[in-house]
Symmetry: C2
DNA sequence: GCTATTCATTGATTACGATCAAGAAATCAG
DNA sequence: CTGATTTCTTGATCGTAATCAATGAATAGC
């Protein structure tokens, strides 16, 4: 029997008792999103927290002028959501969009709280995983200013090469923080060896 | 009797039972840092997590070329540390520096774990506070690319005016992500009304 | 109080990404 | 398969921050 993607994620990071898993999984429900569907948008109060089984989502920020800036992509085996809004019931200022037809499982707040309070290993996963994410974000903030677009592109090629294959270039451009034109030139510069 | 700064912080955000506080405080130890002292640096394994009682610290990232980029400043009443390294025992890639003579209280890992497991309200503070920080960082990542340096400066003036008074300009410049020369010109542009 | 650093300002030049504009290539619908 | 969108590339111009360089102001050490 094949291992559930969620269990795999929980165990790959910090160990999770297999026997607890069915109990945890029971709190989740399934859902599907169509390609390009907006899952939540700025101003919404986020009601669910999602785990991607198949497909890909992007979380992004929209500036007052309408420019988009992607914060991160969640592929298969990753949580995506916005716990700040989810936990506090406040409007989010981020947007979440499915970039492909995407299958997820999700928790509502009630089930999330029950799961967290009744399954300590799940709590531990959360705390530790958030440290990981936070560390990544801090690094992003740090690098956001000190790296040239060329460096950012090469880092993306090294760290997340799969994204290059599954995303259109203007999405990559939004992630790096440049215009599509500039990305096209960067690619030209960095391809010819 | 004056309320302890830590209790104030714990209660201001999400409510913390006052009667539990002495028990929590007992896990902490005191320490002082001199102005400009490096508390930890990239490559270190962070052994403590700090709460600032007096003074100010900055957490920053150093690029391979030696350029510094400040992630955030912690003033009185704020935690500062690097839980990723602290909890996982892995080397950090961030640096923490006291910008003034600074008094802190701190926890080592053993006491942190004991406090977290024995004082649920402290756990709750952590989880929720991390969401807040994470949301801020995400916004930072989002704005890092879409804001012009002028906009970043004006946002700093609006959101953290006290920092302008207590920090030298080249620190502000490192925070905004420009050279000191550029900041000087930005200030000139934005001062003359 | 005076000298020595460190820090802030100003100027001139350079480099690079944004923007505007137009074609080419790829994707999609019928 | 064909026409219509959408996406990607290429070119030319423009604006702005980095860099290099030098002077002025403020701080710290003796």
């Amino acid at each position: 029997m094949e291992q559930h993607l969620l269990l795999k994620e929980l165990q790959s990071k910090y160990g999770f008792p297999t026997e607890e898993f069915p109990k945890l999984l029971a709190f989740f429900r399934k859902k599907q999103f169509k390609k390009n569907e907006i899952i939540f948008k700025s101003g919404d109060i986020v009601k669910h927290t999602y785990f991607v089984l198949k497909g890909c989502t992007r979380q992004y920020y929209v500036s007052p002028e309408g420019a988009e800036r992607t914060i991160y992509f969640a592929e298969e085996g990753a949580f995506c959501g916005e716990l700040m809004s989810f936990l506090h019931g406040t409007p989010t200022n981020l947007n979440l969009q499915a970039l492909e037809d995407t299958d997820v499982i999700y928790l509502d707040l009630k089930n999330w709280e029950t799961a967290i309070t009744s399954i300590p290993a799940f709590t531990l996963y959360h705390i530790k995983n958030h440290q990981r994410l936070m560390a990544k974000l801090k690094e992003e903030v740090g690098k956001a200013h000190n790296e040239t677009p060329d460096e950012k592109y090469r880092r993306l090629v090294n760290e997340q090469p799969h994204l290059l294959q599954r995303l259109p270039q203007y999405q990559i451009a939004a992630d790096i923080g440049v215009t599509p034109e500039t990305l096209s030139r960067i690619r030209k510069r960095n391809t010819q060896i």
